[in-house]
Amino acid sequence: MLSKSQARWFFVGGTAFFGAIFIFLTVDSLREIPARQNQDQMTAAVVRGKHIWDRNNCMGCHTILGEGAYYAPELTRVVERRGKEWIAVFLRDPAAMFPGQRRMVQYDFSPEEIQDLVAFLEWIGRIDTNGFPPQPDLAPATVVASRSTSASTAARPAYFDTICVACHSVGGAGGSVGPALDGVGNRLTAAELDRWLEDPPAVKPGTAMPNLHLPDATRSELVSWLASLK
């Protein structure tokens, strides 16, 4: 039967042995991490972004690399999912993007800080994470068939696909926060659309749609395409 001193040696010896292996593996990991995290792409902006991330305790709601809190979305691949432009617009006024839904703190980041955060998130997205987060492997219950038959005369603006689709859908693809925009050209004239996009709350006080402060060129591109959706 095991004696007490044998038990003590089991504890001390086991701890020393596995502690040594752990140190060895840590040394090896530290050797491999620079390549896996693309150290050469860690620009000053990335580092600044990381400290903005820490300073505001973003991990207190979000997860990154799967670590943090479970109140807000996982952000490891957010640049791939939303695009840099969308994130920049979103960070300017988070509540405006998801009206009436779970709220994010309004941080009033400067444009430079937003660029730093985007750079940080972009860098995070390129880390070799052994496949996390995985692609969904169960097919959604229903496949939405495209029902858009709009013979559009204008080209679909890229801006629409990076920003607008977060809330609006066309042809069944897109968000459901705002109304679907199929056939919007039948309901509103180009002039009305233009006035709306310039400042939605001014047209309809209390609307959930934020003023996105679109540059004129982007706005007119959107208006001509939307007006053509008939």
Partner: protein
């Protein structure tokens, strides 16, 4: 109690009770926010509530461990505490640091690193405070007449916990390295050296409450903490699956963390076995309940539910979801909250001289709080598994999936109410005991 200075433990226990109450309050704020009632968002946003909830937990458990050590070490070393004054100073310092940290969180003074949110300036104060504590305990043992295994294990656990706090104080520019060394603190605490503290306290209580031979209990203590480190050190690998670390951690972390439940199973069998061998004859039955309950619930929460999502092929999907919250709640409750509560339940009658344990209040406190925590764990489990399938497996949008699982937070709140009632009863019992009394000091007492 045997020595007058053991009464200082009371201060630490009282702090624990107060902070635990606050921790529960902040938990409710978060649960309501998940349910869609975020009325406090502008004053206490979720990240502030979350950091407060976690750090209150850490501080009240540390305070409980310190109180347990101040009660137990004089008894084991057979002498008064080296300096009771120092203990009081150190208690006051712990409270001041804790209060500043918690208030600071509400104003965004933090580090934004899960579990280690306390800002660097305060970290130094924490280190000084813990050094004072360890010095005081160490000198008590050193000058004592008796070196026992339980006190050595407890002391090694406390010292190692202090040392392991240091890697968490290094500043990194890389999220990967930051995370890597953050787990040195968090994982090696809760699945390593804190288990030494828990094992030391539990063995002491088993010796006192069951009457089983000390040699037998202490031998098995070594075996169990041996298993803890055998599995727990390399088990850190289960945090290194998906954070940018090499892929060999997938199988190393998988194999060793799959062995971690063995240590907790050992702890459970040990507590139940010793209690049975002792015949459960001790009049303070409720302290024995908490002690044995701690062994069993730590196995369920830390061992079993940890295993439920520790294998890499499972964790790939559950990593960063509410499944983690399911495991986390029951694990901290079973392993650490309950061991502190066991110690308090044992020490209070001895410090105050009042025998208020044979009563419906402490008994209901035990059952109601445990049933409440099981209900909470169930609610997190259902919400977590549903989240994994909706969001991760089928690609549903985050907010949509959260909407779909919202109702489980209603269940969570109901169960949390039950837990709160149980804890309320426990604290009521604690208050009924009153303050430590001179009359309770008797050199002949065990």
């Amino acid at each position: 109690m045997k020595f007058r200075s053991q009464r200082v433990a009371y201060l630490f226990f009282a702090t624990s009770m107060l902070l635990f109450t606050l921790q529960i309050l902040f938990g409710f704020i978060m649960a309501f926010a998940h349910l869609g009632f975020d009325g406090l968002h502008d004053i206490i946003p979720f990240n502030a509530a979350r950091s407060t909830h976690l750090n209150l937990l850490v501080v009240w458990l540390l305070s409980g461990f310190m109180g347990a050590a101040y009660y137990m070490i004089p008894d084991e070393a057979n002498r008064e505490i080296y300096s009771e004054k120092l203990a009081i100073v150190q208690w006051a310092a712990l409270n001041i640091v804790g209060v500043i940290a918690i208030i600071g969180f509400q104003f965004g003074w933090w580090e934004g690193r899960k579990f280690l949110e306390i800002p660097r300036e305060l970290d130094y104060l924490v280190v000084i405070d813990v050094l004072l504590f360890i010095f005081n305990i160490g000198m008590t043992i050193w000058n004592g007449k008796r070196f026992t295994t339980t006190s050595i294990v407890l002391f090694v656990g406390l010292t190692a916990a202090a040392l392991l706090y240091l890697p968490g104080m290094i500043t990194f520019d890389s999220q990967v390295l930051d995370s890597y060394f953050r787990w040195w603190v968090v994982h090696l605490w809760v699945e390593g050296v804190w288990e030494l503290i828990m094992g030391g306290i539990m063995s002491y209580l088993l010796i006192k409450l069951t009457g089983v031979d000390r040699e037998v209990i202490e031998k098995w203590l070594y075996v169990i903490v041996g298993f803890t480190f055998l599995s727990g050190i390399l088990g850190t690998g289960h945090h290194y699956y998906y954070i940018g670390t090499p892929d060999y951690w997938l199988w190393i972390g998988g194999i060793f963390s799959a062995m971690e439940p063995l240590a907790f199973l050992g702890m459970a069998l040990y507590a139940v076995g010793m209690a049975r061998a002792g015949g459960m004859k001790h009049p303070n039955r409720i302290a024995l309940f908490w002690t044995v309950g701690c062994g069993v619930m730590s196995f369920v929460g830390a061992g079993f539910l940890g295993f439920a999502h520790t294998l890499p092929q499972v964790n790939l999907w559950t990593h960063g979801t509410l499944v983690t919250a399911m495991h986390g709640h029951m694990a901290f409750w079973g392993a650490y909250a309950m061991v502190v509560m066991a110690m308090i339940a044992y020490a209070m009658p001895r410090m105050t001289g009042r025998k208020l344990y044979d009563h419906w209040i402490p008994e209901w406190a035990f059952w109601v709080s445990n049933v409440g925590m099981m209900g909470m764990t169930g609610a997190f489990a259902v919400a977590g598994v549903a989240q994994v399938y909706l969001e991760r497996k089928s690609g549903m949008d985050f907010l949509e999936a959260q909407k779909a699982i919202e109702i489980h937070f209603f269940g969570l709140i109901l169960a949390a109410c039950l837990l709160s009632v149980g804890i309320g009863l426990y604290i009521l019992n604690f208050i009924q005991y009153g303050l430590p009394s001179e009359e309770a000091v008797s050199p002949g007492a065990a």
